[in-house]
Symmetry: C2
């Protein structure tokens, strides 16, 4: 068994985890990182679909490994009486049940919210689904791409005049997993006061709407439908990607003082005195002219030159790092944001760390691996006093 | 005062909120939506910088309004003795303090973690910053664009062979705000067991690493640095944007059964029998050939035609909606994901709703407005028994 007792603010909490692929497992990975014990209940034979999703290393899904560190696994067929008995015994001891089936599936299995709440009144039941448990589309299937498209973020991402573009990671799943985790934690807090569990219903599509930020306000303020604008900011200038002699960097000079510093570092005091660029509003109005002016200068020197000067002057700036550079970045390494999991097939495999750092809890660089399918059956049955049925 | 007592799982919790602009205010907006009372402590004269960030409607920042609904406001100068007394009285009653200054600022004001924890041992102190409170870059300034660049997501977003592209909303801020909220809620749960507060330290850059998803695994599995690949998925095919006779749609046929259904709906059984497209691995290998074949057919009919047929067959698909369409989408409306705030300058202004839905709590369509600067001073001072000092 992979370290059943967690450390962290949720130590002592047991999560029964029916989730598959990404949104749900991301949520339960966060709960595990926060110290909860996560018991992954998988379908017999194949288990979590993510076990079959690449990339693969030595025949094992590195995708699965990166999302399921430190969880336990038991394979149960929830249509079989013996396995339902085991599942019931798990729920008896659980604080939280998380699932990401389509709405109605749990009811068909006899584990709908009404039945669960009656039998296990302290249990918190979290459902993360594509469209949520209410509304006309509730039974439709969703994948990340579907909610990125329907939720509006694709319409805001990409080059000006170009095609709407998917965000390059599965933000449709991940944001839903994050909201579900925040919601579960708040329900745990409330239960500590009331003794009562409740249902938490999070939709991937809803989560996309919740991250539209200023786009909804812009539409109402101007009546114009916001579209993709490349890497710049809609209302702060200069705040963009700028070409250099050997690549590009980003500069975010969010106010007049930072703009003045930027002009000094790039030795372009003329820009600071140009009436077209006198205020943030004017700079935004004349954004393309200003970009041409700044790039005329930034193109003359390599990226590192500008990063050094801008950092020294306190102008927010950064290299546009690829994933290999991210894993070596000294700040990211110093923050334990690249951790290792031990895996028989993959060896010391690197995955993203936990971004929530606590004064009272350690943030180890080494994390337990991901479970093989059904790896914890025997130990769990023994713990539940049910003996093993398959030996 | 704007409805000081919240409803929701965090009802009874008081948050003192020193945050400005986006990452911190997004976190405290979530806490407010979960039922906490949020008292926004702003700088005198100008207040939260977001009050000066567009878009503006009738001279008021719609940007500020969309992030600060239902919070109270008091203007305090933390360098003035009288205002520090008020601030101390607030902390005495608070459960959570959130700030997004650069590291060191709170120490210089005499409110560093050590001092706070000694004086207010139950207080949870959450700091959300660009780079976190440790590591070599901790004192550098960051904006959303800087962490999107340094954290790798820009390198994964955009058209194949094109420039790295910023995600079209401020995911650098928003994800950090979401992780901070999840972290605070877990700390509130732990405090309910131990009686003890702790510090939560979340960095925008760390949060970007935490959402890189499969890119870190792909790099290690293949040794190749992942780059932008447009709207398709790196390892699931077909999962992309496809052109139609009047626009485009997305289709996510994540497994063989869905691919077979897709071939049937677009009346292309030949694709289902083509050896190049026999498995997901082969379809991903021959992704561009398959896209040409599918688009040959999807281009012959309008988007609505394909959406109807695919939805009926249960193939995950969606329209690529702009923000105006999002606000009218029947599912999004049915889920209360577009709510109204009452604002004197803006009238009934629409903002994104709360994506975390609870069985035990209402999810109102109408939310309280955002406070004018210092609007709640008098009521707060009276509540704190300090009288008003400025009348």
């Amino acid at each position: 068994m992979t370290e059943p007792a967690g450390k962290g603010p949720l130590a002592g909490i047991t999560v029964v985890d029916l989730t598959r692929v990404l949104a749900g497992p991301y949520c339960t990975m966060m709960l595990r990182d926060l110290g909860a014990r996560v018991i992954k209940v998988e379908r017999p034979e194949t288990g979590d679909d993510a076990r079959a999703i690449g990339p693969f290393v030595n025949g094992e899904s590195a995708y699965f490994v990166s999302l399921n560190r430190g969880k336990e696994s038991v394979a149960l067929d929830l249509k079989e009486a013996r396995d339902r008995e085991i599942f019931d015994a798990l729920l008896e001891r659980a604080d939280v049940l998380v699932e990401n089936y389509r709405p109605g599936t749990m009811e068909r299995l006899g584990y709908g919210w009404g039945a669960l709440h009656e039998r296990f009144p302290r249990l918190i039941y979290a459902a993360v689904s594509g469209f949520g448990h209410t509304g006309p589309y509730r039974e439709r299937p969703a994948y990340d791409l579907v909610v990125q498209a329907m939720g509006g973020i694709m319409s805001l991402t990409g080059e000006p005049g170009g095609a709407p573009t998917r965000v390059g990671t599965s933000m449709g799943d991940i944001t839903a997993g994050m909201f579900t985790c925040a919601g579960i934690n708040a329900a745990l807090y409330e239960r500590a006061q009331t003794g009562r569990g409740q249902k938490v219903d999070v939709a991937m599509l809803d989560s996309q709407v919740a991250i539209l930020e200023n786009a909804i306000a812009r539409l109402q303020a101007s009546g114009e439908v916001p579209g993709p604008i490349g890497s710049r900011h809609p209302s702060i200038t200069p705040f963009d990607r700028f070409a250099t002699s050997d690549g590009a960097l980003v500069i975010a000079a969010g106010n007049d003082a930072l703009f003045t510093k930027l002009c000094r570092v790039i030795e372009r005091p003329d820009l600071g005195h140009d009436p077209r660029f006198e205020s943030n509003a004017l700079r935004t109005e004349n954004e393309s002219a200003l970009k041409v002016e700044i790039e005329d200068t930034t193109r003359t020197q390599p990226t590192a030159h500008w990063l050094d000067g801008l950092a020294e002057a306190g102008v927010p700036c950064g290299a546009i790092q690829n994933v290999a550079q991210v894993l070596e970045d000294p700040q990211i390494v110093a923050r334990n944001m690249v951790v290792s999991v031990e895996d028989p097939a993959l060896g010391g495999f690197r995955v993203a760390g936990n971004p929530i750092k606590y004064s009272d809890h350690e943030d180890p660089l080494q994390r337990p691996g991901s479970p093989a399918l059904d790896a914890d059956r025997e130990a769990l049955l023994s713990e539940l006093g049910l003996g093993d049925d398959r030996d």
